[in-house]
Symmetry: C2
Subunit: 340 residues, 2 copies
């Protein structure tokens, strides 16, 4: 699975980056940036940042975008194991591992922030995790390590500044179709999980209009997915289908909305909404917090999800009036909707 | 002390706001915004936000500033007590309080973000905290509650985007003089504590060039301040002297630097530095995290500390070259200096 997963995320990264580059042929290409993790493993970041626009210069569709993959391995120290046990209660992680536990993790993670306030931000992430027996690791490289636990996690969600219900429906429908091919129970479960996860408690609002989210998908029974696929291979097929849904779910939306004219006030609202995006990622998101706490983590890759620019206003009046376009978004963020 | 503290922070708030308004007589006045906490207590926010500048319009000295006071009371729920016990190990908080603990807190908190990249951001906060006996609270309002623990905390620190060593020296010297009037051991202890507190571990750099910081100042012995004042009254006199140092420590700096011409690149660097300010406040700062976790907290006041605008660039080259003005700041943030 390690080799298969690595090869799939490499392919998906290139596929998505090419789709994004095709969106705006006049924009600079993504910067492809390979890195090596001294503690074990490597990654490749593909990043786009629009050059600071001079007066009168044509603007690009994207403002900031990153499509990263990482394939890393090493030993989880006991505090990280403790955190992992708390976050993944259904995984059979050993109680006691004073020397730490060997792990392998491979994943793709992406965040796209378009420039136009009518074009939504989008995030997706698919990852495979493995914990192996410390005893078999010390037996030497010629012995294949015994896997103690493995699981997949991931999902994709959309964060608009202005609500276009047809965009929300298209994004959800595309992911629903990918789920329905496996079981009609998957999309409702993953949609609900997404609404719960991407929630900002101190603002009492969702980060965006949702999508799908899952974790701990493995061969055992799953508390939130009663008829989950039960083999490594069938789970991998499912995850690949979800990953393949990203381009058709998102690209047509940004392609259309990037042409909509916008005002300075609409841009201001977008930057305020991006402030909330920053709050979710830095205050709430489990993955970001776990990443920043991990010694040797690549901070530039973890925080690549942050927007190029964000804004905070004290007691902003924008969004307070339910009848405005800004207020309509807030209403949906306060009370998640069914989009399909 | 409750009445004295409330009256002092009201005075200090007005004093500081007037000093800031005098800096820039052509700017709009601060917006004074009183609020009531439904669970008990009240506050007043004095906030400045520069109107979005139109083309060619004269810019104001401040971009965003908030000077807040709050005087609140209520019951700390057991999880908050647990957190408080961990943060204030020297305070004699009861082990077991299933119904929670009555508290009183009064403080002033301010953050000033000037527009000009040469003028530094500044933060200050002084607070008084009291925990009272739940038994005496239930005995009725006519019985004065028995105080189980009380302490003062606070400090002030400077966050420049461009390093002017003379500014750093002036800011530190002004606070050192206020400390030295009580004991020569105070400034070195509070300066060191400030360097330790305002540190961003995931960036391996300080938030700014420091200042002073202290907590748990009470009548008992203090681990970090061997000859601390040991009565409520003498501690209050000390805290008032530190608060009084804010205007002479900061206002002359911003007055001078706000006149320095700046380039778009220098503004860009300022926004990147503000991104780090956001990271400290949302990821690291104990006070912000505690505040956002507290039910009924006034989120707009807590997050008033965030800058109006911030910026994140992936692998930014700014600051990487030690010979540039940006690089000189980074060197000092990586290795705190003695300024006086």
């Amino acid at each position: 699975m390690r080799v298969l997963m690595e090869s799939w995320i490499r392919f998906l990264q290139e596929d998505i980056v090419q789709a994004l580059e095709k969106l705006d042929p006049n924009a600079p290409k993504f910067q492809r940036d390979s890195w090596v993790r001294p503690e074990g493993g490597m990654g490749q970041s593909c990043v786009f940042a629009a050059p600071t626009a001079s007066e009168g210069q044509k603007e690009f569709i994207l403002e900031k975008a990153g499509v990263n993959i990482s394939i890393v391995h090493g030993t989880l120290p006991p505090p990280a194991i403790k955190q992992m046990r708390a976050d993944h209660t259904s995984m059979p992680l050993p109680e006691d591992a004073p020397g730490g536990l060997p792990f392998f993790a491979a994943g793709i993670s992406l965040v796209i922030h378009p420039k136009n306030p009518h074009a939504p931000t989008c995030h997706a992430n698919y990852r495979y995790f493995e914990i192996t027996d410390p005893a078999s690791a010390s037996a030497g490289a010629e012995v294949a390590p015994k896997t103690l636990a493995w699981w997949f996690g991931g999902g994709s969600d959309l964060t608009p500044s202005y609500l276009y219900p047809s965009d929300a429906t298209h994004f959800h429908q595309t992911h629903k179709s990918a789920c329905d091919a496996f079981s009609p129970s998957f999309y409702p479960a993953l949609k609900k999980w997404c609404d719960e996860y991407f929630y900002i408690p101190h603002r009492s609002e969702s980060r965006g209009i949702g999508g799908i989210f899952f974790d701990d998908l493995h061969a055992g029974p799953h508390a939130r997915l009663p008829d989950n696929p039960r083999t490594l291979d069938s789970i991998f097929v499912f995850v690949k289908s979800l990953g393949a849904a990203f381009v058709p779910a998102y690209i047509p939306i940004v392609e259309q909305r990037a042409k909509t004219p916008y005002t300075d006030e609409q841009r201001r609202w977008q930057l305020i909404r991006r402030g909330r995006y920053v709050e979710f990622n830095l205050v709430v998101d489990r993955g970001t917090k776990f990443g920043l706490m991990t010694p040797g983590a690549r901070v530039e890759s973890i925080l690549m999800s942050l927007p190029e620019t964000a804004r905070w206003e004290y007691m902003s009046e924008m969004g307070a009036d339910e009848e405005t376009e800004e207020g309509k978004l807030i209403r949906v963020l306060k009370e998640p909707k069914e989009w399909v």
